[in-house]
């Protein structure tokens, strides 16, 4: 029998506030409910793992060695250095340093409320992304040949190696106006914390962009050669392959083969082909078909030449650490490691999912709130706009856009975001129509709150639930849209993508390569499933119909 409670709080004491406990906030409560669902936790773990991989992708999957050391003393250059570090781009640096800082800001106990910290981080990261993208665009544009004299002189001015501060100053000049716009956003109440956050973002982005105005990756093949000659020793990353390094002799290697095994497999296969060609020649000779016999002999010499080339390459590499490197998930039809691509593609998947959904939420919530709150003519007009956008087939629009607009990630995110906001708008509108008649909205007006505050501070948190649930499904849909486009060969052409990998499962030779179907397919499936499970858990956590606790 359980012990009876030693003390009972009487009604009188309760009236005086004895035993009153601090309530958790609405979102904290909902979040703890989500964490109480085991499937949602599994989904969160998967999404978290994808996010971590996206951030640290260059550190775990990189063909550039972590550390390189010359065996004999060198006269020029450093004795040992990290080629990986010098190959990191500004984006890599911002992610690698920004993400831990962001996690620390959220996790460490601070006096500022978590919601305010989150808002500040979101503002800082949006500014950083915009500034970094803008900087990359400008630099990329300058690097395109034939831009005229002014561009060339600007490029030379920026790239003057003796004046290291110039690119930093350039990045700073791009960042400052953005930060000034950002300072207008009310993400924290205190001006000095706002200033501190913006200054930190400005400084970080400027430094990262300025230092990495151009990366100078060490020639990868040179490293392999030097290693084969025994001139250097290297320490490689966990997955010693980059998604942008292809070796033509290592195409379609099945999973779990090392480089040397892949070579010997190829040689064995070549031997078989040579044998077959020889048998064919003999058969042709016996049958007296001279032409076939000559063709078979020709094949034979060609295959033998290939074999001797492979043999030589293998001899060169044999015994080095390179030869022992393993393709854990095999390679695709271009000879690129699949695992490295899967890891790097986490970036594309996450950014497409979150950025396009972010754009959609921004447009959808703003328009939906206006429609729901004002009703009448505003509702009538804006809802026609919603209907127009609902009638647009997103996939076909994307396919057309991929043909007309530059094929990069930003354009893809913008298009997905700009056509998929109708769900958020309709949900927000419905919620606001319901909420606007409620007494607390009336009382907000009576207190004299300005309209944006009523709409977004007071009404939105009460009606955002269905929008959030919709958003988590929208992220899944955006990931699928990206995968579909990449599968069709219309994705961003400079980036690893799960969809692109999937597309190469039936390679140019027409053979079905199972590892190229299973692994990317599984990853896409798990990601989409995770967002859907999370959306469902969120809905269950917040839906008042499923909760007995009355407010």
């Amino acid at each position: 029998m359980p012990d009876a409670p030693s003390k009972v709080i009487t009604g009188i004491e309760a009236m005086r506030g004895v035993g009153a406990q601090r309530a958790r906030g609405f979102w904290a409560d909902a979040w703890s409910r989500v964490l109480g669902t085991s499937t949602a936790v599994a989904a969160l773990i998967w999404i978290g793992a994808v996010a971590v991989l996206a951030v640290i992708a260059p550190l775990i999957a990189n063909a550039q060695p972590l550390w390189l050391e010359h065996v004999e003393p060198v006269t020029r250059g450093p004795q040992s250095y990290s080629p990986l570090w010098s190959s990191l781009t500004a984006t890599d640096l911002l992610l690698l340093f920004g993400a831990p800082i962001a996690v620390a800001v959220m996790m460490l106990p601070m006096r500022t409320a978590k919601s305010q910290r989150l808002a500040a981080l979101i503002v800082a990261s949006i500014l950083s992304i915009l500034a970094a993208a803008l900087f990359q665009l400008v630099i990329g544009w300058l690097d395109i040949p034939g831009q005229g004299e002014r561009a060339v002189s600007l490029r030379n001015w920026l790239r003057d190696p003796s004046q290291w501060w110039r690119p930093i100053a350039f990045a700073f000049a791009i960042m400052v106006p953005l930060a000034l716009i950002g300072s207008l956003l009310p993400f924290t109440s205190r001006w000095w914390s706002r200033a501190a956050i913006l200054i930190a973002a400005v400084a970080g982005v400027s430094l990262a962009c300025g230092f990495r105005v151009s990366t100078s990756p060490t020639d990868y093949d040179a490293i392999v050669t030097a290693e084969a000659r025994g001139e250097i020793r290297t320490v490689s990353t966990l997955v010693p392959w980059s998604p942008d390094r292809a070796r033509s002799e290592l195409i379609t290697v099945p999973p779990m083969r090392t480089v040397s095994e892949a070579f010997s497999d190829k040689i064995v296969r070549l031997d078989e082909s040579i044998d077959r060609a020889r048998a064919a020649e003999q058969r042709a000779d016996v049958a007296g078909r001279r032409l076939d016999g000559m063709r078979a002999a020709d094949d034979q010499t060609q295959l033998a030449r290939q074999r001797s080339q492979l043999q030589a390459e293998w001899k060169r590499l044999e015994g080095t650490s390179f030869a022992e490197r393993r393709f854990i998930l095999g390679t695709d039809s271009n000879g690129v490691d699949v695992l490295a691509q899967l890891i790097w593609a986490c970036r594309l998947s996450l950014s497409v999912g979150f950025v396009s959904t972010g754009i959609a939420l921004f447009i959808g919530i703003t328009l939906g709130a206006l429609m729901g709150y004002f009703g009448g003519k505003v509702d009538l007009l804006l809802f026609r706009l919603v209907e127009i956008f609902m009638a647009m087939p997103v996939l076909f629009l994307l396919i057309v856009a991929a043909g007309v607009l530059p094929r990069n990630t930003y354009v893809m995110m913008a298009i997905i975001g700009c056509v998929s906001w109708t769900g958020a708008a309709r949900f927000t509108r419905a919620e606001f129509l319901k909420l606007r008649g409620q007494d607390f909205v009336q009382s907000c007006r009576a207190v004299g709150l300005p309209l944006p505050s009523i709409l977004f501070k007071h009404m939105l948190p009460n009606g955002v639930t269905p929008v959030l649930v919709d958003a988590s499904f929208a992220i899944a849909a955006a990931i699928l849209a990206e995968a579909t486009l990449s599968f069709l060969g219309l994705g961003p052409d400079d980036q690893a993508s799960w969809g692109k990998l999937l597309a190469s499962a039936t390679g140019s030779t027409g053979t079905f390569l199972w590892w190229l179907a299973i692994f990317p397919g599984l990853v896409i499936f798990l990601s989409v499933l995770s967002y859907n499970v999370l959306g469902g858990a969120l809905r269950d956590a917040i839906d008042p119909k499923l909760r007995k606790a009355a407010h």
Binding site: R16, A20, F440, S443, A446, V447, G448, N462
Partner: protein
């Protein structure tokens, strides 16, 4: 002692508000308020009494321009608050008046607070909106105003969410929120309906104190004649969007003149009344004898009542509104038919500076 005529804090003149009923532009509109006149002076409580739907709340909401337009529409009239016509102000100018100069307590405490924010957040937001104070000062001001309305442990309960408060506590939070900004005029729309009697008395006592110390005017909208009897200085009885009787509290309770006012009093059961059934309003207002009790009823001053049969209505001045608020005594206005006799004697708009606490002080 020479009296400069005191200027009212709020002066509602001939206010008419109507609502769109069907959406069709030429469809008849619902006239919720049809020419209401009333004044509130500083340190005065004006009680607006009447049955549901008589236009009390619409009048109060109009003074803050809280009627959504459309479907609402201000047909005519003016609402002068501190020398400015509220109805002519822009939405932006209204923001500083709402909450800051005119505050409102709503009748629904259960749903008038935002469920996703703590009580503290909500009071502090209102305080910081209208007063230039730091968050720390705003916190202290909020705690003080919660303490004023008699909430136990205000400092701890600032962290609480609305669902942790009982109905009465929420109503007190609402009142604290309204009073936190030190308004000049308080519109109290049935402020004590949800409260138990002890708290009710406490809140009304608090409102009276603040009224004296801050010079605040109160428009008290209620059904409860007991609350009116204890708190009001001037009573405005409304029916069907019009004022039917307007008089100082004691005069009205001693000698209700309009049959409808009499009916309201008659329908209150006394504790010792051994009645088989209660008197209804209809029983009183359908009795022609009641209409003859009005002084001057034999001289053409006849109490206005919308349900008087056509045959019994007096001859009214053609082309004008049949209703007129007639000053029957120096300190009493009663709704009358606009007969030539009533029209002949022009009545000023109702305005009474009477305050009960000043009377007792001077007495």
């Amino acid at each position: 002692m020479v009296h400069e005529p005191e200027r009212p804090l709020l002066d509602v003149a001939d206010l008419a508000v109507s609502f769109d009923n069907s959406g069709a532009p030429d469809a008849p509109r619902v006239q919720a308020v049809a020419g209401v006149n009333l004044t509130v002076f500083p340190r005065q409580t004006l009680a607006v009494v009447g049955e549901s739907g008589c236009g009390k709340s619409v009048t109060a909401m109009s003074t803050m321009q809280l009627i959504p337009t459309p479907p609402g529409r201000y047909d005519r009239g003016s609402i002068i608050f501190q020398g400015r016509d509220v109805l002519s102000l822009s939405e932006h100018e209204m923001l500083s008046i709402r909450g800051g100069k005119i505050a409102m307590i709503f009748q629904e405490p259960m749903t008038s607070l935002n469920p996703v924010y703590t009580i503290g957040d909500q009071i502090m937001e209102a305080v910081m909106l209208h007063q230039k104070v730091s968050p720390r000062e705003a916190f202290e001001l909020s705690v003080k105003s919660l303490e004023d309305v008699g909430l136990a442990k205000p400092r701890e309960r600032m962290e609480g969410y609305p669902h942790q408060f009982s109905g009465g506590e929420r109503q007190r939070v609402m009142i604290a929120m309204a009073l936190g900004c030190r308004p000049a005029l308080l519109l109290a729309d049935e402020p004590t309906t949800a409260l138990d009697v002890t708290i009710q008395a406490q809140i009304l006592e608090l409102l009276r104190e603040l009224q004296v110390s801050r010079g605040m005017g109160i428009m008290l909208i209620t059904h409860n004649l007991g609350v009116v009897a204890e708190n009001a200085d001037v009573v405005c009885v409304m029916y069907a969007g019009r004022v039917v009787e307007y008089a100082p509290i004691f005069d009205l309770f001693d000698r209700p003149m309009h049959p409808y006012t009499r009916a309201l009093f008659a329908s209150i059961p006394g504790v010792r009344d051994a009645k088989h059934r209660l008197t209804t309003v209809d029983e009183v207002v359908n009795d022609p004898a009641q209409f003859r009790k009005l002084p001057g009823s034999d001289r053409g001053v006849i109490a206005w009542w919308p349900f008087t049969p056509e045959s019994e209505r007096p001859r009214v001045v053609a082309g004008r509104d049949e209703y007129a608020l007639h000053q029957i005594e120096p300190e009493r206005w009663v709704a009358c038919w606009r007969t030539p006799e009533v029209e002949a004697k022009s009545s000023p708009r109702p305005s009474l500076t009477f305050r009960r606490h000043e009377m007792t002080v001077s007495a």
